[in-house]
């Protein structure tokens, strides 16, 4: 088990909250066997921290007694895991086939122009990050975008400004 001192040593170098490491540690200790549970643990870690920076990966590796490279290998393999912090709101543009044939490439371009960022980037004010995702399963409403968990269907280029403004701090 990692001692509290070790946790604070990690923390002192970086800006990650000690509380979060404790929460993650508690979660890992609570599961019956860690054999085969790496992905579950990483899901939890990403839920807690919002992303999976190097220190979190190392923390997990140490806790499970496996090489850091193994953890990195898994994190980098799956697109759901991100090593960069996300914005306060995540805008996901569906790039599945149904949305593609109904013009999602224009939607994402307009989104990039409006936000001034590329996919997997975060706006300067930290408010938005942009992702392209594959089929969210609402193909009937194509093209579809999600802001956090809210689905917007039949999106047109001219709607985008308004959707984004809904989430800007007033």
């Amino acid at each position: 088990m990692t001692s509290t001192r070790e946790i604070s040593a990690i923390k002192s170098d970086h800006d990650l909250p000690e509380e979060s490491f404790k929460e993650l540690e508690k979660y890992i200790d609570s599961i019956k066997t860690t054999k085969g549970a790496l992905i579950e643990i990483l899901h939890k870690a990403q839920e807690i921290f919002g992303y999976l920076p190097r220190d979190v990966q190392l923390f997990v590796a140490r806790k499970l007694g496996i090489p850091g490279a193994e953890v990195f290998g898994v994190v980098s393999f799956y697109s759901y895991f991100t090593m960069k912090p996300m914005g306060k709101h995540t805008i996901s543009v569906c790039m599945g086939t149904a949305c593609f044939v109904r013009g999602s490439d224009r939607i994402i371009k307009k989104m990039k122009d409006t936000l001034g960022i590329e996919s997997n980037e975060i706006t300067e004010d930290g408010l938005f990050s942009l992702k392209d995702v594959r089929c969210v399963g609402a193909c009937g409403l194509a093209p579809v975008i999600l802001v956090d968990d809210k689905v917007y269907g039949r999106v047109k280029e001219e709607d985008i400004e308004e959707i984004i403004n809904n989430y800007r701090e007033k």
Binding site: F77, F100, V101, R102, R134, C139
Partner: protein
């Protein structure tokens, strides 16, 4: 409470009152709680309905039930009133008052909310009279849009868990295998392998520890049938896994599901909890010696994890890279134990086959493909949604009759089936009766059931490029032909669409396509070139129009395909 015998299950089915499920004097307002309709405010509609019911003090007479997807997502939010069978479309929250005041209290059907047939403007009251549903046969989707997926008793009332009860109290493992084999059920995850055979092989393996895994990864970008089943009828999959577990000798099941499907995950969790509470999962199920439980494992966004060996690696917490086969998972799978991997839709058929018998099932469909198939119909078509049809239905029936033809009066050009592994089918093959072999015969495949309709506005080279970009991104990188080959193919397609390519590039593209197809390790690489080869075969002239030495002045995207094909709708 535990249901600890088959008799008790039967008794509950007869006597339990759930939301007055079978009481004809109580009206039920079924509101679609699928992702599409939820995005269109169906949650708020439910809230408003309940609000009005309270204000009118009529809660004795009417109940609001949130169901799974009705399939007709294009017309959502969908509301159905039972037992009147009246089907309302595009219902918004402020319609709540009209529905209660007019329909429920006065008995008048609200005309303006009825579905209007686009061609003759005829209004249709009942679901079974709508062209969208008429040619459908809903087996795997039998409970979607009918029962509340978060209420196990509604499932039980609808024959739920009776098949499990029947097999574990009355049938030997071999009898079940015999029934499933004779039914002719083939895997709906893409490969079409006979399910009975797979169960038999897994059962035959030596050793006591075995696993059954439900593949709910659904990575095909444009398919959402598995998700709808899990969201609309999670218990049918749980029941089927228990039946499968009993048959092959497994005490443990795993559902491997995409993390991108939060609602399906939550409904599955609710269903698992309820099944355990009633003792339909766990130790000594229905008072027998059979023990079985199910665990969820979340994927993390990798298409290749749908491939069964990659899926097993991912279940073990590793990178989701495919392995060489053999050994097949049935021989050596999860932690090297014999493991049966089945698709969601495959499983959803199992309880029905047990209850209705193998000859009933095998009487549906074509000679070599039995039963029905669910398709996710999308693209430039009027009625986007989920449709389930008997095998042998023609593509034309699906596109013109069920799908209602092409949007905005445009012309049909092609239909893409089988997702990134499949190909395009043109007008000349539209009368092909759909089954595994026929679709292969016309150069495409069944795949998981994504069906994307393309019209004269679509450029086929762009479509091929879209799929190649997908497979390139999703290649796990393990074998060079797939990792590098798809990238080079993609680059060539970009070059073509930018009008910078020559005939030599076309040759290179074709050669690469065969090389990737023939030398890749897993299904992803082996099928990745299909969209390119198939569009080349049927739309060669569209490629040619983009080749540098063909004189054509417009840029990418602007040009219109010449070979329009008209289909009458």
């Amino acid at each position: 409470m535990r249901i600890d015998s088959l008799e008790k299950l039967e008794r509950i089915k007869e006597t339990h009152k759930v939301e007055d499920f079978n009481d004809p004097t109580v009206k039920k307002i079924l509101v679609c709680g699928g992702t599409g309709c939820l995005a269109n405010d169906s949650e708020k509609l439910i809230e408003f309905l309940n609000h009005v019911i309270k204000a009118r003090k009529c809660s004795e007479k009417v109940k609001v039930v949130k169901t799974g997807c009705f399939g007709f997502c294009e017309q959502g939010p969908i509301v159905k009133i039972e037992p009147d069978h009246v089907f309302y479309v595009k219902v918004v929250p402020k319609d709540a008052r009209t529905i209660i005041d007019e329909h429920i209290l006065q008995g008048n059907i609200v005309q303006r909310l009825l579905y209007k047939e686009p061609i003759n403007n005829r209004k249709i009251e009942k679901q079974e009279d709508m062209p969208f549903y008429k040619k459908q046969m809903r087996l795997a989707l039998r409970n979607c849009g009918l029962i509340n997926p978060e209420e196990i008793y509604e499932y039980i009332k609808n024959d739920g868990y009776s098949a499990l009860g029947k097999v574990i109290t009355q049938m030997s493992q071999d009898t079940i295998i015999d029934i499933i084999t004779k039914s002719g059920l083939r895997g709906r995850g893409g490969g079409g392998f006979p399910t009975g055979r797979k169960w038999e092989i897994t059962k035959k393996q030596p050793g006591k520890t075995k696993f059954i895994i439900c593949n709910a990864d659904e990575g095909d970008p444009g398919a959402f049938m598995d998700r709808s089943i899990l969201e609309g009828d999670p218990h049918s999959v749980i029941e089927a896994m228990a039946i499968g577990g009993y048959t092959i000798g497994a005490n443990k099941g795993i559902v491997y599901i995409r993390a991108e499907y939060p609602m399906a995950i939550s409904r599955l969790n609710t269903a698992l909890f309820q099944a355990r509470e009633l003792g339909l999962l766990g130790q000594n199920i229905l008072g027998t010696t059979f023990n079985f439980d199910i665990e969820l494992k979340l994927g993390a966004g990798a298409f290749v994890c749908g491939e069964e060996t990659a899926l097993i690696n991912s279940c073990e917490g590793k990178r989701g890279e495919p392995n060489y086969k053999p050994p097949y998972p049935a021989e050596e799978g999860y932690w090297a134990y014999p493991t049966c991997v089945n698709n969601v839709e495959t499983l959803a058929n199992i309880p029905l086959i047990i209850l209705k018998g193998s000859s009933w099932f095998s009487s549906i469909g074509t000679e070599k493909s039995k039963g029905t198939k669910v398709f996710a119909l999308a693209g430039k078509i009027n009625n986007v949604g989920l449709v389930e049809v008997p095998m042998g239905t023609t593509l034309r029936e699906i596109i013109c009759d069920i799908g209602g033809g092409i949007q905005d009066g445009h012309l049909f050009k092609a239909v893409q089936t089988g997702g990134p592994s499949g190909g395009v089918i043109t007008e000349k093959d539209l009368d092909t009766p759909i089954d595994y072999d026929n679709l292969l015969g016309v150069g495409s495949m069944m795949g998981s059931g994504g069906m994307i309709v393309l019209d004269d506005r679509d450029n086929m080279v762009n479509v091929a490029k879209f799929y190649l970009e997908f497979t390139m991104d999703e290649s796990c990188g393990r074998c060079t032909p797939c990792r590098i080959g798809t990238k080079r193919m993609y680059e060539l397609l970009v070059k073509i669409t930018k009008r910078k390519a020559s005939m030599a590039d076309m040759d290179a593209l074709k050669q690469l396509a065969y090389m990737v197809k023939n030398s890749s390790l897993c299904g992803l690489g082996q099928t990745a070139p299909n969209p390119v080869l198939s569009t080349m075969k049927y739309f060669w002239n569209e490629y040619m129009e983009l080749i540098k030495d063909v004189d054509h002045p417009q840029g990418e995207g602007k040009y219109k395909a010449k070979n329009r094909e008209r289909i009458e709708v």
